[in-house]
């Protein structure tokens, strides 16, 4: 049973005239390939909601960080802004300096290609982002050739200029080289040169330093900041590394399972993280001082399946401070049982496995779950044992009632609540722990 998402409080049309790119209720879904049989029968496969209702604006001249684990949708969001993946719903608007407003998500392929002069991308792996069969001069000048801007001697001058800007000088040494002849940092500089040669306004940088050596990372980030000032660029900086985001970003959006869970100025995010997921990510930053090692209660488990996201808040199964309306459901009960058996010796599993009956039933997200076959007293005792092992487990907060229905136990969960982004002291956060300030003002 899907949870009805909370409709975001109307903030009025985003009149921020300083926005360069805006995503409005953006959704990007990918169809999963079903089994061979399902395809034969023409059944539609499941869909993964890579982006599930994102509202975000990139302001002119700022660096907006998109931070999240693998699978959080940050790369997809960056690609969608460029129009490299089609939007399923919602819109992306580009407010060009001399192009006017363009709705990227509605453009045809020809107009989309023309838009590339204004929006460019820097890729994660510089070794893979350059055609191995093209010299640096060809590769960097190719955008100008494709858009028929320059040719001949002028083209060469521009290429040399771009190479110098990114710090690949003397240029003569690099013009005739193939990507294989350059180091990782040099290749990434070349990729940046190719991105800026069309003089774009927006640069999407998809983990631009994560494949580089530690020693070059700071240099590349500094180069990006310098170029931003020289060329009036606005960046979307996609990363999983909060430390580098702190270095370069003005604002940070924390993403989890296709949604933004917290967004705000990076100083505020670092000084005062609000969302439990942000807190967990911040704790995961390695501490260089071994004496100051803190206990890291990193989020347990893995990022959930985006094809069937958890009810309520997507983060609740991993959240240490989840409360009753966070969206507890049958699948969490299965996780609870499995964790219990993992903690205890194998004999416990052998003794208890038959007591709970078919666990497969729990895989469908439901607000009530049935456990056990005949011995309802035993099942109840088992649940109590598990609860006694860890009374602070947030799962129990979500259980509204446990009743014995003769041939097992039925657990009822509280009605889930799917929090939308709401302002909370300088940032916006999607968590039920932070009540909407705007509603407080009204009352």
């Amino acid at each position: 049973m899907p949870t009805k998402p909370e409709t975001p409080a109307p903030t009025g049309p985003v009149t921020s005239t300083d926005a360069v790119v805006e995503a409005h209720d953006l959704e990007v879904h990918f169809a999963l390939q079903g089994s061979a049989l399902a395809r034969l029968l023409g059944r539609r496969g499941r869909t993964v909601k890579a982006i599930d209702g994102v509202n975000v604006a990139l302001r002119r001249g700022e660096v907006l960080g998109l931070v999240g684990e693998s699978g959080s949708g940050k790369t997809t969001l960056g690609r969608a802004i460029l129009g490299l993946v089609p939007a399923t719903a919602g819109s992306i608007t580009y407010h060009g300096r001399d192009r006017g407003d363009v709705v990227v998500s509605e453009l045809g392929s020809r107009d989309l290609r023309a838009l590339r002069t204004s929006m460019q991308m820097v890729f994660q792996d510089p070794g893979a982002a350059l055609n191995p069969g093209m010299t640096i001069e060809e590769a960097i000048g190719h955008p100008l050739v494709i858009h028929r801007k320059l040719k001949g001697a002028e083209l060469r001058t521009r290429v040399c200029d771009a190479l110098e800007r990114v710090g690949l000088s003397p240029v003569e040494r690099y013009l005739g080289k193939y990507p294989a002849d350059l180091s990782g940092g040099q290749k990434q500089r070349a990729v940046i040169a190719r991105a800026i040669i069309l003089e774009p306004e927006v640069l999407i940088a998809d983990e631009p330093v994560s494949m580089l050596d530690m020693s070059v990372r700071a240099k590349i980030l500094q180069l990006m900041l310098d170029l931003k000032d020289q060329l009036d660029l606005s960046y979307v900086y996609i990363t999983h590394d909060l430390a580098s985001a702190k270095y370069i970003c003005d604002r940070i959006a924390i993403m989890y399972l296709g949604r933004i869970v917290e967004i705000g100025p990076s100083d505020e995010i670092f000084a005062n993280p609000r969302h439990p997921y942000t807190k967990a990510l911040l704790k995961a930053i390695p501490e260089p001082d071994p004496d100051r090692m803190l206990p890291r209660d990193l989020p347990r488990g893995e990022i959930p399946d985006a094809a069937v996201p958890p009810l309520g808040c997507s983060f609740h199964p991993r959240c240490p401070v989840a409360v009753q309306e966070c969206g507890w459901e049958s699948r969490d009960l299965r996780t609870l049982l499995e964790e219990h058996w993992t903690r205890n010796p194998g004999a416990t599993y052998d003794a208890e496995r038959d007591m709970v009956g078919d666990l497969g039933k729990l895989d469908k997200p439901e607000l009530s779950a049935h456990l056990g076959v005949t011995d309802s007293q035993g099942t109840l005792a088992l649940l109590n044992r598990i609860r006694a092992e860890n009374p602070d487990e947030p799962f129990w907060r979500g259980v509204a009632g446990i009743e014995d229905d003769g041939n097992g136990v039925r657990l009822e969960f509280h009605q889930p609540h799917d929090p939308a982004l709401r302002p909370a002291g300088g940032v916006e956060v999607a968590c039920v722990l932070y009540p909407d300030e705007r509603e407080n003002e009204k009352t």
Binding site: T117, Q120, A128, N131, H142
Partner: protein
């Protein structure tokens, strides 16, 4: 290109010997074919000199190096003119199949969807049929509009070999188009044609030269088989080894060995040469087979005064 040339030039060991041996044989045939008008004593269909017939089935001798056959032809001349025919057909058929197969594979792999399905279906059907049968059918079909000449034979061989280039190029394209640099090309606004031409082509044709040379050997045997069966190049159009072999079969049973031996040897030798070149290229260009050899460093002998300098330092 630069890389290819370097790897070929720097080959060592067995791969180099295979390549060199193959090249020597092939180049010898190419030279013979090019110089045929000067090297061959007679025309390919010349049986008379000054109105007088050449001897029939003459033994190899000083006058007729490889003897003459039952049609009063000089076998040495027939072998040389046959080399010209064979190489022309091989070159044309390989060129046609590359020119058609590579772009088809590129487009099919890049565009995907129903275009890909249709092309793969057609090519797989061609591939499923026995190649000789296919060649016979096509040479029948082409004999009407094109006659029984070299072009018709080359085209009927082309139909056999297109699927190979198509498959190899299409499959490499399907995997290469997922590469980041192809997405980067899209991100800089390259239209599909530019992506195929500038970003995919150079990276998917790597194995084409190897297939080309191996196919050349195969094309020669198919051509000879066609000629042997009488479906190939018409005897009036050009000299062809397979045809000569079939004519010589009856005489060979009677103990006249030379009309069959020399065209047969020519076929075997050229096939061997082309196969060696193909295998040699495969060994050098295919990274899975290529073995790089360490070249031992030769230190210059240390002279006495150098040794003293070194000690002082």
């Amino acid at each position: 290109m630069r890389h290819w040339f370097n790897t070929i030039w720097n080959t060592r060991g067995l791969a180099r010997w295979i390549l060199v041996a193959g090249l020597v044989i092939v180049v010898a045939f190419v030279v013979l074919a090019l110089l045929a008008p000067w090297v061959a004593p007679y025309e390919f269909n010349q049986s008379k000199v000054d109105g007088e017939k050449l001897p029939k089935l003459a033994h190899p001798s000083g006058d007729y190096w490889l003897g003459t056959n039952d049609q009063f032809y000089d076998i040495w001349s027939r072998v040389i003119w046959g080399a010209r025919t064979a190489l022309e057909v091989i070159f044309l058929s390989v060129a046609f199949s590359i020119v058609l197969g590579v772009p088809l594979g590129l487009v099919s792999g890049f565009v995907g969807g129903w275009v890909d399905r249709a092309l793969v279906f057609v090519m797989d059907s061609l591939y499923a049929l026995p190649s000789l049968l296919l060649a016979i059918v096509f040479s029948f079909l082409l004999r009407g509009p094109l006659g029984g000449g070299i072009v018709a034979a080359a085209l009927s061989l082309t139909c056999i070999y297109i699927p190979q280039y198509f498959r190899v190029v299409r499959n490499t394209t399907v995997s290469t188009k997922e590469a980041v640099y192809v997405e980067a090309a899209r991100a800089i606004g390259a239209p599909p044609r530019t992506i195929m031409r500038k970003y995919l082509f150079g990276n998917v044709v790597q194995s084409v030269p190897v297939i080309g040379t191996l196919n050349a050997a195969d094309a020669l045997s198919t051509l000879a088989a066609l000629g042997f069966l009488g479906f190939g190049i018409q005897p009036t159009e050009a000299s062809e080894w397979g045809y000569d072999l079939s004519r010589a079969l009856d005489d060979a049973q009677a103990g006249t060995w030379w009309p069959a031996l020399f065209p047969g040897l020519a076929i075997i030798l050229l096939i061997t040469g082309l196969t060696l070149v193909g295998e040699g290229l495969n060994e050098t260009l295919n990274p899975a087979l290529r073995r790089r050899r360490l070249i031992p460093v030769q230190m210059p002998a240390m002279r006495a005064d150098d040794a003293i300098d070194a000690r002082n330092v």
